[in-house]
Symmetry: C2
Subunit: 84 residues, 2 copies
């Protein structure tokens, strides 16, 4: 079994209005010194052993469905989980 | 300057309909062997040096605003960035 952690973030050049809203909201709550907030997605996929090439499969899933490569970057970590 | 990475995930006991939708969508796209998908949030905060106790500040921000402790778990990593 594989546990895959996928991180999807907006590219640096893309504006992040959601992050700006959170930043302003934190300031309203009295938190100072926050320069920037950027918001992304975090996904945990559990794959079973039938998946042959996990790395290639996850890469393709990211490109095709999980991220929008035009405005988003992604990275992932694959972790093999041994059933107990 | 500090770079803080915050990961917010739904608690194990909470249903994740968004994750199920992505899982079904991946299956529709022909990806087999996916047992579960769970979706969370990933946030990158940039804090400046004026923040005294970064760890405590981030914990409080998570509890009060960034996560909903009733249904979500969070974890974070603080990284000190040296300006060049």
């Amino acid at each position: 079994m594989y546990k895959v952690k996928v991180y999807v973030t907006l590219r640096e050049s893309v504006l992040d209005p959601q992050g700006t809203a959170v930043k302003n909201s934190l300031a309203t709550h009295g938190y100072e010194g926050i320069q920037e907030v950027r918001i992304g997605k975090y996904m945990e996929l559990t794959l079973d052993e039938s998946v042959k090439d996990v790395d290639a499969a996850v890469k393709e899933m990211c490109e095709r469905l999980l991220a929008n490569p035009v405005i988003e970057d992604y990275r992932y970590e694959v972790e093999e989980v041994v059933a107990q």
